[in-house]
Assembly symmetry: C2
């Protein structure tokens, strides 16, 4: 049996394009003793993958040219030669982007999405949900009455972060790129206010939306939006830095130039801290339990933007950088059997 | 009796100059019951005072035009109408810059400099010593074998910060502006290496001095030096931000433009945190005890650069921005009686 696989064809310089990706056909292989055959159901495309397309040292090894991309995948066990997993089980792992996988059963973990779509294991009950939780609750630590601003507020992480701030009793202001997203975060997620960065002076809009300054800024985008936040930070403000998507497609040798933060950090004794979800692995159980319960109770809602078909992965990935998605961007590769 | 007093004559736009300051003559006054008459011995000039010369919201109220500057002063009680203080006692307080003070005894606190010069109460056993201690020990938290870089390494705070890093078992690299300061920090303070930022490519020099990257960066200066640090920060690096002296004399409307930190903070999950010594007042006793003991044991050494005479305050202050001082810059106004 053959399958489609998605390779890194060449390293992008600046924004990735069609030459960045290459689809090839490979053999699936057969599971041996203690192995399983998995069918990919959903593939997660995430902004951090752009970093791995470049040949620079980072927290995960770069993708290799001519080798498959990999990332978060939810798959179904369609054949099992292991006692640990049964046909029909849903598993999640970081796997090469291809339609099938032959793996040791030890290398994947079964997920229980509590009656939600299996895709939830890549969104609200997956990495983005956890990232929002740790950034907001362990670094941001919003308090009742504080003002919390979230950039990328309608995105995979932002949609959760804003609701967590509200649950903590804070005022939540989201920065988004469209009228539709503004409506989503204020009407569906309970954000108090939306700032549309494409609609003129962001600094002025933020000042209007945050008359008492900013106590927590959940940073997803960086760039000029991050700059506009700095003068509004209150004493002892916290800035979890989850991402800086505006900088991910700089060309080789380009630098991300803007406001230096040091004068603001000193003046207001701000804490700014970068985070990666894996750093909090000791607390995963706490976070999964919290998120699952909040979703079950209806205290937490979320969206997924799902493109169909393995071949749509590059398009779905590129859409992250133009803000096509509301909520988590996923690619649906196959239906469960 | 009359005395000299130093006023803010006009708010500077950019670097302060002679028009910023004005000396006037005022009456000293007489102490009443429960009051003391103090003679100023030493005046502390500090970079943060530049912020107070501008009319912008910060952690301390701006100086008022036509009113005296104020700051850290060590003084001698020359007449006491209080049981709390005796003639000859040495006190420290934040006071207007003038030669004498008539004050309620409750408003000043006696200092014991353990046989050191009274000036120590404004340097190693004062605000700069404490600032180094809290920034390094409470935020930087250097561990054995780590690499710690300190900018302004020969300054009032930097000279202490570097020694604390060494005592913690870390490798200490100092950034300084002259050959003389490089010799001071490596030969007197025990820094492992000095980077002279006026001697060519700082980024390259830092890379050579920090082959294993940077785990703690004690930030005193900001600007291009702060920029050069960012790419070298290791995973989980800590950056206590004590000052950003390179930005203090920007003209009205000028912004401090350079490398945005967000991409580096995410990539290496760095914590950057602004600090002000007063935020740690609950721990002052711990810090004073630590510093006094370390000095007494000979584990901590320090320098003071002392200009003579009340009229030299403006010059001593301006010298901070051209790096004239080694160690703490003070002005000696009078000898003890």
């Amino acid at each position: 049996m053959t399958q489609e696989q998605l390779l890194l064809n060449e390293r992008p310089n600046g924004m990735p394009d069609d030459n960045t990706f290459k689809f090839v056909e490979t053999n699936v292989g057969e599971p041996e003793a203690n192995q399983v055959l998995l069918k990919t159901l959903y593939v997660s495309v995430d902004p951090y993958m752009r970093g791995r397309m470049s040949d620079t040292k980072s927290y995960v090894a770069p993708f290799e040219v001519g080798k498959p991309l990999d990332g978060g995948i939810v798959a179904e066990v369609i054949e099992s030669k292991s006692n640990q997993l049964q046909q029909g089980d849903i598993v999640r792992s970081s796997l090469p982007f291809q339609e099938y996988h032959v793996l040791d059963a030890d290398d994947v973990s079964k997920v229980n999405t509590n009656g939600l779509s299996p895709s939830a294991a890549l969104s609200i009950l997956g990495m983005p949900g956890l990232t929002a939780y740790f950034g907001m609750m362990h670094i941001g630590e919003p308090k009742p009455g504080e003002t919390v601003v979230i950039s990328g507020a309608a995105g995979a992480v932002g949609q959760v972060a804003g609701q967590l701030a509200k649950q903590a009793g804070a005022r939540a202001v989201g920065i988004v790129g469209s009228e539709e997203k503004a409506a989503y975060i204020t009407q569906q997620l309970g954000y108090d206010e939306a700032v549309q960065y494409k609609k003129g002076d962001v600094a002025q809009q933020l000042q209007n939306a945050c008359p008492d300054g900013i106590d927590v800024y959940y940073e997803n985008v960086g760039g000029e939006i991050g700059d506009a936040i700095l003068p509004l930070l209150n004493t002892f403000a916290r800035v979890p830095v989850c991402g800086a998507i505006s900088s991910y497609n700089l060309k080789d040798g380009e630098q991300d130039i803007g406001l230096r933060v040091q004068p603001f950090l000193v003046k207001s004794r701000v804490k700014m801290q970068g985070l990666l979800v894996g750093d909090f692995s000791d607390h995963f159980d706490e976070a999964y339990a919290f998120l699952a319960k909040a979703v079950a109770n209806g205290d937490l809602t979320y969206e997924e933007t799902i493109q169909e078909g393995f071949h749509s992965i590059p398009d779905a990935f590129l859409g992250l950088f133009s803000g096509e998605n509301i909520g988590k961007q996923l690619v649906k590769v196959a239906d469960p059997s």
